[in-house]
Structures are given as structure tokens and as C-alpha cells.
């Protein structure tokens, strides 16, 4: 097992190096020169040249790449072209917001998804099942940003019960701490701020989690249906175990194995979805910031963020694979390696 994990971690290195090459090529080779964008169209040739020199853009492209990789290994992605702040600092100031949103979304999606999926499977072909499946189908077909807009119209515009954007009321904002407002407000014992942060989190988390919720619902349903047809379920029923216990202790537990994988993979894809959700809800996270930086050609920041997101994404995949094998002892690592 340990050998497998070490091997998988080592295999991540070329993937991440490749990701860095792809991002580097897109941003530095194929993108237009950032100098006129950063300095403005009226900058003199001399200013542009000076700026390019100062930011290492006049060196040969492979030198630029090696400089970037050398820094990246030590966590130094350079400084933003605009704010002159270290990229890592820029990322870290926004990262908790995105992680908090993604975790809230996946928790919401998992609870509702598993619940609807399991009940749909048990009550197959009932009205509940059919409505659940229609809801799931709409969930995968609806653009995240439109769902966000609809939620804002309903809950902020019509019902006036939830805020339409940002993370917290500026007057209640916690300073210092972890950057995770749920934790910071709880630790400081400021319940008013905590409730306000939760209220701000509900709509973006629902919008971001809807797609995952739909996928989890479908997966849980089909996995439960497969499990409910197994011999051991019949045996459990024949032994006289109550229906509820058979479903929760025998069927659901086994049906959860593939669902866990899907939940893990969805957590990774939420980082992509955050780009759109954060834009709709003016959520000060990394997704919205990345779009801004790509459009402003702030290369160092984009490279840092994409590499970091790719890192998280592949690590989640690895953890899911290991967890999957752990949950289902029938899976042999050697088989997967082949």
C-alpha cells in the first residue's frame, strides 16, 4: 500500500511539470505582450523596455521557464505585475474564501444528493423518484451562473431573506485568524458575525453545489439499485432484519463506495465552477481573481494559481483512489497500477 502511494505521488511530479509547461506556453508564448496592457497604451518604448527587463521578460523563454520552476519549488511564484505583492500572498489572502465555499457546496451537495438518491432507489418509479431524477437532470443542465442569478432574484430580490453577494457584512468582518470566516467568527464567539457569514454562504454554495448534487443523486440512485439487487440484501431480508436497517446498514453502506469517488472528484471540479459562482456573487475568492488576472495578463499570478489548483486537483484524485481501495478491499493496487 505504502509503495503504491509513494509511486503515485512520484507520478504526480511529471504531470505537474507538464501543467506548468502548458500554462507557461499559453501565457508567455501565445499570449500578447503584457507590457502595453500593464503599462497602458501610451507608455513610451523606453518604459516598456525597462519594465520588460525588470520582470525578466527579455531573457530567452527557457530561462524564464527555469526561473519560474526554480521559484515554484520553494513556493515563490514571483510578484504580481500590478500590486507588486508576492503571488503566494495574493493567493493565500483569497484561498480560504474559495475553500470555504467549495467545502460548503460539497457538504450541501452530498447530504441532499445522497438523501434524494437513496430514497429514489428505495421508492423506484414513484413520484418522488421521478421528480428527483427530473431535478437531477435539470441540475446538470443549468448553467451555474444562471442558477446563481435565479437564486439572487428569488431570495434577495423577492423574499429579501438572504444577501446577494460578498462574504460578510463589512462591519462584522473578522480580522486576522485563519481567513475561514466560519471558523474565525466561531472562535471569537461573535455569533452575529457567524450567522451573517452563514447567510452570505448559503446561496453561492447552493449555486456551486447544484451540479455536484445532481451527479451525486444519480450516482447514489444507480449504485443503490445495483446493491438492492444483490444476494446479501435478500439474505439480510430473509433473516428477518427490518427494512430500514437493511437499507441503511447493508445497502447504503455498500452503495456508498462509488458515490465516495464521485464526491471526491466533484470536489476537484468545484474549483473550476468557483470561477463563475464567485463572479456572480462577488465572492472575494481565487476563482474570480484568476479570471481578472488572466484578462489583465498578470502572468506570475495566473501561473501560480493554475499550478496550485492543478496540485490540489491531482492530490484529490490520488486521495480518492486510495480511499476507494481502502473502502473496497476487493480492489488490488497492483491491478490499478497496470
Amino acid at each position: 500500500m505504502l509503495k503504491y502511494i509513494v509511486k503515485r505521488i512520484l507520478m504526480l511530479i511529471p504531470v505537474l511539470l507538464g501543467v506548468s509547461v502548458i500554462v507557461f506556453l499559453i501565457m508567455r508564448v501565445f499570449s500578447p505582450d503584457p507590457a502595453p496592457i500593464v503599462l497602458g497604451q501610451h507608455a513610451t518604448a523606453e518604459t516598456v523596455e525597462k519594465w520588460r527587463e525588470a520582470n525578466g521578460l527579455n531573457s530567452p523563454i527557457y530561462i524564464q521557464y527555469f526561473d519560474f520552476i526554480k521559484g515554484a519549488v520553494t513556493g515563490d511564484f514571483g510578484t504580481s505585475y500590478y500590486t507588486k505583492t508576492p503571488v503566494m500572498k495574493e493567493i493565500m489572502s483569497r484561498f480560504p474564501a474559495t475553500i470555504e465555499l467549495a467545502i460548503a457546496a460539497i457538504i450541501l451537495a452530498s447530504i441532499i444528493g445522497i438523501l434524494i438518491g437513496a430514497i429514489s432507489a428505495v421508492k423506484k418509479n414513484s413520484i418522488f423518484d421521478n421528480s428527483g431524477m427530473i431535478l437531477a437532470l435539470i441540475g446538470v443542465s443549468m448553467p451555474i451562473f444562471w442558477l446563481g442569478i435565479l437564486l439572487i432574484i428569488l431570495f434577495s430580490g423577492i423574499l429579501h431573506i438572504l444577501p446577494s453577494g460578498s462574504r460578510i457584512d463589512p462591519l462584522l468582518q473578522p480580522y486576522g485568524g485563519t481567513g475561514f470566516y466560519m471558523i474565525d467568527t466561531l472562535v471569537s464567539g461573535d455569533m452575529e458575525a457567524f450567522v451573517d457569514a452563514v447567510k452570505h454562504l448559503v446561496l453561492p454554495a447552493l449555486a456551486l453545489g447544484m451540479y455536484s448534487m445532481a451527479i451525486i443523486t444519480r450516482m447514489t440512485r444507480s449504485s443503490m439499485l445495483d446493491t438492492l439487487n444483490q444476494d446479501y440484501i435478500r439474505t439480510a431480508r430473509a433473516k428477518g432484519i427490518k427494512d430500514g436497517r437493511v437499507i441503511t446498514h447493508h445497502a447504503l453502506r455498500n452503495a456508498m463506495i462509488p458515490v465516495t469517488t464521485v464526491i471526491g472528484l466533484q470536489l476537484g471540479s468545484l474549483l473550476g465552477g468557483a470561477v463563475l459562482t464567485e463572479t456572480v456573487f462577488s465572492w472575494p475568492g481565487i476563482g474570480h481573481y484568476t479570471v481578472e488576472c488572466i484578462l489583465k495578463s498578470d502572468f506570475p499570478v495566473v501561473q501560480g494559481i493554475v499550478l496550485l489548483i492543478a496540485c490540489i486537483f491531482v492530490l484529490i484524485n490520488l486521495v480518492v483512489d486510495i480511499f476507494y481501495a481502502f473502502l473496497d478491499p476487493r480492489i488490488k493496487f497492483s491491478k490499478k497500477e497496470a
Binding site: 507538464g18 509547461v21 499559453i26 501565457m27 430580490g157 479570471v291
Partner: protein, 304 residues
Amino acid sequence: MKLKDLKADVEENSLQQALPLEKPESRLKEMWEALRENNAAVVGLCIILFLILVAILAPLIMPYDPNLSDMSKSFLKPGPDHWFGTDQLGRDILSRIISGARISLTVGLSAVVISLTIGVVLGSIAGYFGGKADIIIMRFMDMMLAIPSILLAIAFMAALGKGIDKAVIAIGLVSIPEYARIVRGSILSVKENDYVQAARVIGNKNSRIIFKHILPNVLSSIVVRATLGISTAVLDTAALGFLGLGVQPPVAEWGDMLGRARGFIFTAPYTLIFPGLAITITVLAFNLLGDGLRDALDPKSRKN
């Protein structure tokens, strides 16, 4: 069965006798028959046909010029003159949605053609030849998959510049790995079959074996993926449009319409509801058809 044994087998028997080939047309026909029994898929197909018809007949059925602005008519609520209301520049929203159907369907289909073509070629090479080619291609695909597709598409757009043609390329490029993976997997599962080995033994070229003997047999899974791929491409197009990276004004595109109307979310919500509904219905239709096709091919999922 080893190649040597097979050679002997082929020599002894006539090829036709030894290896009955399944015609791809019969597979597609079988798929069509199963599809017709699936009500949801038929609904999806009907919606798609309707959308195609709307896109083709757009110039004839649009009640107004979709790009004609008239500030005296801005923010008219939905009514008999303007069924879906008018936007901030007084343009008829229904006409813009009809016009947008052309863009969404064209971009969706074109992006899938790009990703499908490149994905099939790369997946075929990786699956059929294996070895180093397989490792290099699939590792590259893994690298692309490690970056969230929408981020990658935005990065491509930043490099290529704004515009709907660029959006097609960006969306097409980011979906390549999915097709490459599916084709590679399908090829691996059929390449050891007797009929492929026999085709090799009788001296067919690799390209002929891939295109004539292997791909037609994995066509069905590619068709399913492509149908679902169109829905993803429509969603991605709308997302890029929403972020202001898609069409150039005044062209009507559903995502762009949403992005530009965002500021009027509380004052004129109808400017946001109808374009979003158009995206959702289109994506839903392709999902229904794609799911139906998958069920038609896979008796196991049909059972569920």
C-alpha cells in the same frame, strides 16, 4: 490466440467464414430502435430538431432586428409587442434569443468537431500503437485534465483574443482529452479481437485497420460522448460569453446577454430569465438524447 496460429487459421479457412464482421450500420440501426423506445430521448431529439429549425429559419421568424437598439423602448416588460420584453438598449429579447440559437448551436457543434477529430486521432494512436506513443499522449491528456476546463478555456481565450471563432477553438481544445480517453479505452478493448488481428495478418495498413475495422466498432460510444459533449460545449460557450470573452457586440449570444444584463438583476429580472432558460433547455435536450443513447447501448443502465 497468437498471431502465428491465427495466420494458419486464416490460411485454412476463408476469411469470411472465420471472421464474421459486424456491420457498423446494423449497430447504429439497433441503437436507433432502442432509442425510439426511450421517451425522454425522443423528447430531447424533438427539442434539438426544433432548435435547429429555429436557427435555420431565424431571419424569417425573428419579430424584430436583434441588433436594432431603440433607447425609447428600453426595459419594456414582456407583453404582446415584445413577448420576452426588451433589454437595456431597447432590443427585442425574443429576437436576440432566436438569433443566439444560431451561435450556440454552431459553436457547440463546431467545438465538438474540433475536439472529436483531434481526440479520435490521438486516442487511436495511443490505443492502437501503445508503448511510448501511448505514454506520451495520455500523460499530456492527464496534464490537460489537471487544469479545470473553464480555466483552461479562459487562458486560451486570453492568448487567442476575444471572439466567437476563438471561443470555438478554446472550447474544442479543452475537451480533447475526454475523447482521446474514450477512444483509447474502446480501442484497447477491441484491438485484440480476432477480426482486427486477421485484418493485420492479411496485410492491411495500420490506418486502414483503425479507420475501417476498429473505429466503426467503437463508434457508438463516441456518438454518446459527442452528444453529451455538445451540451458541455453550449454551457462553456455561455460561460465564456457571461465572462465577457465570447462574441463581440452587438452580436446576440445567450451567455453574453446574461453577462450584460447582470446589473439589472433587480430592476429587470426578465432580461436574465429568458436567455438562461434558452441555455438550460438546449443543454437539457442534448443531455436527454445523450443519456438515451447511452441507455440504448448499455442494457445494464437501461435496467436502472
